[in-house]
């Protein structure tokens, strides 16, 4: 089963981290991605540019309205995601718990929809 791990963090808090703390965080992420690649569970992932650079698009009556900023205004914003393929949701939760942002902010684990369902 494939899961998306959504990484939430607060850029303001993140800015208070020292250089060492940030390096540690990045090192930790590299290590986890390396482990997941090695185990054959890593499907992919990306970090997102700051939410302040987001554009939110709404079409009303065929007229698109574009506003600056994220869809939901909140202190915590979606900062990135990864997709893993693992055997159980417990394993996906375990991976999320090991991600450094889980310590400071939160990770959300969501199953990906698949095309169909076996009937046998």
């Amino acid at each position: 089963m494939r899961y998306m791990l959504l990484i939430y963090n607060n850029p303001a808090t993140y800015e208070t981290f020292s250089e060492d703390e940030r390096n540690e965080l990045f090192g930790e992420v590299d290590r986890i991605v390396g482990e997941l690649t090695e185990s054959g569970e890593w499907i992919g992932g990306e970090g997102l540019a700051d939410a302040s650079t987001a554009k939110t698009v709404r079409v009303r009556g065929d007229v698109p309205a574009v506003t600056d900023g994220p869809f939901v205004e909140a202190k915590e914003q979606l900062a990135g995601y990864c997709i893993v393929d693992c055997e159980t949701v417990d394993r996906a939760v375990e991976i999320a718990a090991s991600w450094p942002d889980a310590k400071h902010f939160a990770m959300e684990v969501r199953a990906l929809m698949s095309g169909g369902e076996p009937e046998m």
């Binding site: 089963m1 494939r2 690649t37 090695e38 185990s39 054959g40 569970e41 890593w42 499907i43 992919g44 393929d85 055997e87 199953a111 990906l112 929809m113 698949s114 095309g115 169909g116 369902e117 076996p118 009937e119 046998m120």
Partner: protein
């Protein structure tokens, strides 16, 4: 026979011959893959060689020698390989079963078992397997190389398992083939071609096992189950990919040759072999497939088969289907009573299938509000797009 079919059939034989001669399963497997790729490029252009398996064995042996040389392997082995290139020699033994036992060794994780089986026994490329499982090629390559490392590290021998373990190990092999089939049978959207390749491959490999073990009832049962299930493929989805329930399928679209072959297999197995869960599931599928119209289905016979299956191999999924059969024979309330026994089961409590089946039985009982709510809950809980659309449509039909 296309070149690809021929290569898939020869792959395990060539790999078996190579491993038998030189050991080193991991290196041999890489070498055979390279030989298969070379053949796939050359044969369609230059024509098939007179002895295709000998050609593959020669090319694979050379690749293996190159690989061992570049690894700086021990001189003795290197020379042995380089001088023993078995040009023109034919493959004399069918190692398909030995390879299957190796690839489905319990020391490997299920995803590794599936991937390695498809590559080493099925002769599929890593790219084909990756696209069938909807993962990047690098991810699939990693799973395969990890599986091979594990085989090396745990010194899994290239040999049939000893007699006392054999039937238990055969269960694992059959389960892996069943999972490959299921992965391919998962319907509709997405790259359907690659997916149907998996069902075809699962049927082909199970057929090969059945040819080697014709007296094993469960092998015959699994092959029959696959054929009787895949027979319905042309009828089970609308053009837009939405699922069609068994009762509403156009049975004229079912693949009649698969139905006939499946029924013949399961009839013979039930008469002669020791009963097992695949045979019972195939027998149930056969009863469905024999009915010209949904209303002709022999539900009392299906119910009797589920009662046996619940005894032989009790699990919550069997109970779900058993409850439907009970409802068809003894009315929806009797089915709902059986379903209620699953409420305490942690594995099922939040499972969308329990909600979906309960909604179906409530629907039968005329409790439309409760049925609609159940279909909606199930639709929210499923991770299958096709099933979500199906369940939402059922709920909408009751909204009237």
């Amino acid at each position: 026979v296309t070149v690809e079919d021929l290569l898939h059939r020869l792959a395990p034989q060539v790999l078996g011959a190579l491993v038998r001669r030189y050991g080193r399963f991991d290196a041999c497997e890489d070498a055979v893959q390279e030989a298969l790729l070379a053949a796939a490029l050359q044969w369609p252009v230059e024509g098939e060689p007179d002895n295709p398996s000998a050609w593959l064995l020669t090319v694979a042996s050379r690749r293996l020698a190159d690989q061992l040389r570049s690894e700086g392997a021990r001189r003795r082995r290197e020379e042995a390989v380089a001088t023993e290139v078995p040009a023109g020699e034919a493959v004399d033994e069918d190692d398909t079963l030995t390879l299957l036992f190796m690839c489905c060794h319990p020391a490997l994780s299920p995803p590794s078992q599936l991937a390695l089986t498809l590559r080493a026994v099925g002769g599929l490329t890593t790219a084909q397997i990756a696209s069938a499982f909807l993962v990047p090629e690098a991810t699939m390559a990693q799973r395969i190389s990890r599986a091979k490392q594990r085989i090396k590290a745990t010194a899994i021998p290239f040999a049939m398992p000893p007699e006392p373990e054999r039937s238990e190990r055969l269960r694992v092999v059959l389960h892996v083939l069943y999972l490959i089939f299921n992965e391919g049978y998962i319907a509709t959207s997405g790259p359907d071609l690659q997916r149907s390749e998996l069902t075809r491959e699962a049927i082909r490999l199970t057929r090969a096992v059945h040819a080697l073990l014709p007296d094993d009832g469960e092998v015959a049962g699994l092959l029959a189950l696959m054929l009787l299930t895949d027979a319905r493929r042309p009828a089970r989805t609308h053009a837009d990919g939405t699922l069609i329930a068994l009762a509403e399928q156009d049975r004229g679209l079912w693949k009649q040759d698969y139905v006939e072959e499946g029924i013949a297999l399961i009839t013979a197995a039930l008469a002669e072999a020791t009963l097992g869960p695949y045979q019972l599931q195939a027998a149930i599928a056969a009863v469905h497939d024999e009915a010209p119209r949904a209303q002709d289905t022999d539900w009392p016979q299906i119910l009797a088969l589920y009662e046996l299956l619940a005894r032989v191999s009790p699990n919550p999924m069997v109970t779900l289907n058993h409850a439907v059969a009970v409802a068809m024979v003894n009315g929806p309330q009797a089915g709902l009573d059986l379903l209620a026994t699953l409420d305490a089961d942690e594995r099922m409590a939040a499972h969308h299938r329990l909600d979906a089946v309960r909604a179906h039985l409530l629907d039968m009982a005329g409790e439309h509000d409760a049925a609609r709510a159940g279909y909606r809950t199930a639709a929210r809980r499923t991770t299958s797009l096709a099933e979500r659309r199906y369940l939402e449509a059922r709920a909408a039909r009751l909204a009237g």
